[in-house]
Subunit: 402 residues, 2 copies
């Protein structure tokens, strides 16, 4: 069998899939042709390495190396992207997992515990609005009966999108029975490692975070003839809320973002009847997050009173604080003297950790901190350092049976 | 020949066409099936009255009663709507024109001058962003070579939309050679007539108005991990601009509205890279309008500097002040002791007036002033008063050959 492609070769294979010619960013939404292509690519990579891949009824994938009847170590990440996202968020963890297997084999390591490589679907929630949907369904954090009613922007039900991609959830979902430990490698999405001068780090915790839908309702009217003082314009209520959210988060060192909007009727010469805006908020503790969102909602409600508009706020998903297994992080950090840092981003690792699986995350330095953007980047040398670090971590974790 | 349907019967025929079951509003965008249905309805109405309708290569329509070789009087309006608009804006003028012909015939009037009923396409600019597109093309205010490159929200070229509707602009456009005077009846889009206790009024002038596209560019980034102080978020620049535009217009008694937005990538967990917002602005003079827009642009630019974003402003359409023929307005107002009032809304009447055709407008009272909204309304009694007033106006104008 020829040698499998090395990390840089795999990276070149992934580069064109789902890429926008105009922005250079990626549109790898789940259950689309781009994702189907990525799923095939992953299956081929596993086959090239002599590993049989299982694809579950949703599109989650796993390939196991070794079949000893002891708890295994799963590593991996996701292949989907946000809308117009970067190349690294997700795929770096998958390609690094494959490359780490090659490193272990080159080192002559035979894991005493089974080593699995996994890919979870719809991590970003970019299509159905529910982040980490694949891992949530696999762990039972979300049920299929609840999820199948989700709709994408075009009104397509999740159940139909999955069926259209040739998948069938009634065939069953990935089993985590063999997973004793989970390790996810990910590009850093901030600049902590830059500030610390480290190519690689480990995660201590994930900030609590969530998404809230704000529906601002007013009265549609003619943009020319309606006197300013006769209007009930929900765009104004929204605009003040967006500024207030930013200010509130800035003052408290937290995060609040309105990055997604839908306006009705969205006509140039009509005062809108409805502005729907989605708040992404994150804070260092569950209490701080609740207080942040309550403060934004309170300011929005006060302004709605002055504008003669109304406000309804719906929590679409809220994830509590996740502290990764501190003993595990300390043990692994010692392997490379790597810093242990928090993150504000949600990950499948957070879902598996919350489900009681000892979990660790390996971060690779991001020179600008930019992520969820075509400008997202990691230096090739840092990516290779990440592969070596992941191999060290996996060697440690699979080194001896329990 | 049976009697043609009366005004209320015509109104019931129009009621379901292009209506949204959920909002109750109308989606009668040009060159769609709803508009094709309305065009057929108009042709049938003309046929029922023994009038032959001509449809030009764009879909503009006209039917003439009488063929004397003297300057004629054209009356009519449009049948398209804004997105989720009301029933009255446009169709009231067309149905009233047809009903006024019936009134004149009932009165035994035979016009000494030809009397035409016309319908202009894409008055609202709701699909291709150019208001009064039909009348602009007919008068030469816009050329086909320029217009055919316009695209709708789905990227469809105007030329293709027109061809898909079975029309062919190379067949030629409506001729205005026979039009000595134009009269448009329209629902009022404010509350001037309510305040004056009058069911009917005439127009003195149209305020100058226009549409400007504001492109706010920033840098896409992760909504969770990017510190607030590291962002270049164009949503904030936009939000401040929307509030500033409202305040500026409120203080000066003018109009400024941001009712249409497009956000990229429009993902909940991404700081946007681009917010495009359309400003609709109107003022009592050309200078006041220029000053209003300049002030909004200046405040937006200052904020962009503070946010680390950039701003580009493009004038998409600007219409100067239109004063309707004052002698004509005074002569017609005397027929019914009707008030003569200004309007802030653009109309095909403004385009024909600017092209040198003596033009008048008849307004029908709107009890709430609400327009461009499913809530737009006029009382049946006021609509019938409008028909009688229009018949009086047309009798006066067609009463004697030149």
């Amino acid at each position: 069998m020829p040698a499998p492609p090395d990390f840089e070769h795999m990276w070149r294979q992934l580069a064109p899939v789902g890429r926008s010619a105009s922005s250079g960013g990626y549109f790898r939404q789940p259950w689309t042709s781009a994702e189907t292509e990525l799923r095939s690519w992953f299956a081929e990579q596993c086959a090239t390495r002599g590993l049989a891949v299982e694809t579950d009824g949703l599109g989650n994938q796993v390939a196991w190396w070794g079949d000893a009847d002891v708890p295994g170590v799963l590593t991996g990440s996701h292949l989907d992207s946000v809308l117009d996202g970067g190349a690294y968020d997700g795929p770096l963890g998958v390609a690094s997992a494959l490359a780490a297997v090659d490193v272990l084999r080159d080192r002559g390591v035979t894991p005493a515990r089974p080593l699995g490589i996994g890919v979870f679907v719809e991590e970003e929630g970019s299509r159905f609005g529910r982040a980490c949907l694949g891992s949530r369904l696999v762990t039972g954090a979300t049920t299929w009966d609840e999820a199948k009613e989700l709709r994408d922007r075009d009104g397509v039900f999740l159940a139909d999108a999955v069926a259209d991609a040739g998948l069938d959830p009634s065939r069953g979902l990935l089993s985590l029975d063999r997973v004793g430990t989970f390790v996810e490698l990910h590009v850093e999405q901030g600049r902590d490692l830059v500030d610390r001068g480290a190519a690689v780090g480990l995660a201590s915790e994930i900030w609590p975070h969530g998404r809230w839908r704000f529906d601002f309702r007013g009265q549609a009217n003619h943009a020319g003839t309606t006197r300013m003082e006769d209007r009930h314009d929900p765009m104004l209520t929204y605009a003040m809320t967006a500024l207030a959210a930013n200010k509130q988060a800035r003052l408290s060192g937290e995060r609040a973002t309105f990055g997604r909007l839908a306006v009705e009727p969205n006509g140039t010469n009509a005062v809108p009847s409805l502005v729907t805006a989605w708040l992404d908020a994150r804070a260092s503790s569950d209490d701080a997050l609740a207080e942040l969102v309550a403060s934004i909602e309170r300011q929005a409600g006060d302004r709605a009173g002055r504008d003669g508009t109304s406000l309804a706020v719906t929590a679409e998903s809220v994830s509590g604080s996740v502290a990764f297994d501190p003993g595990l992080a300390a043990r692994l950090a010692a392997l490379g003297d790597w810093p242990v840092i928090p993150t504000q981003a949600g990950h499948d690792a957070g879902i598996l950790s919350a489900a009681g699986i000892p979990t660790a995350m390996v971060f690779v330095r991001n020179p600008t901190g930019v992520s969820h953007s075509p400008d997202e980047h990691a230096e090739a040398g840092d990516c290779l350092a990440g592969v070596e670090a992941l191999a060290d971590v996996l060697a440690e974790l699979t080194g001896a049976p329990a």
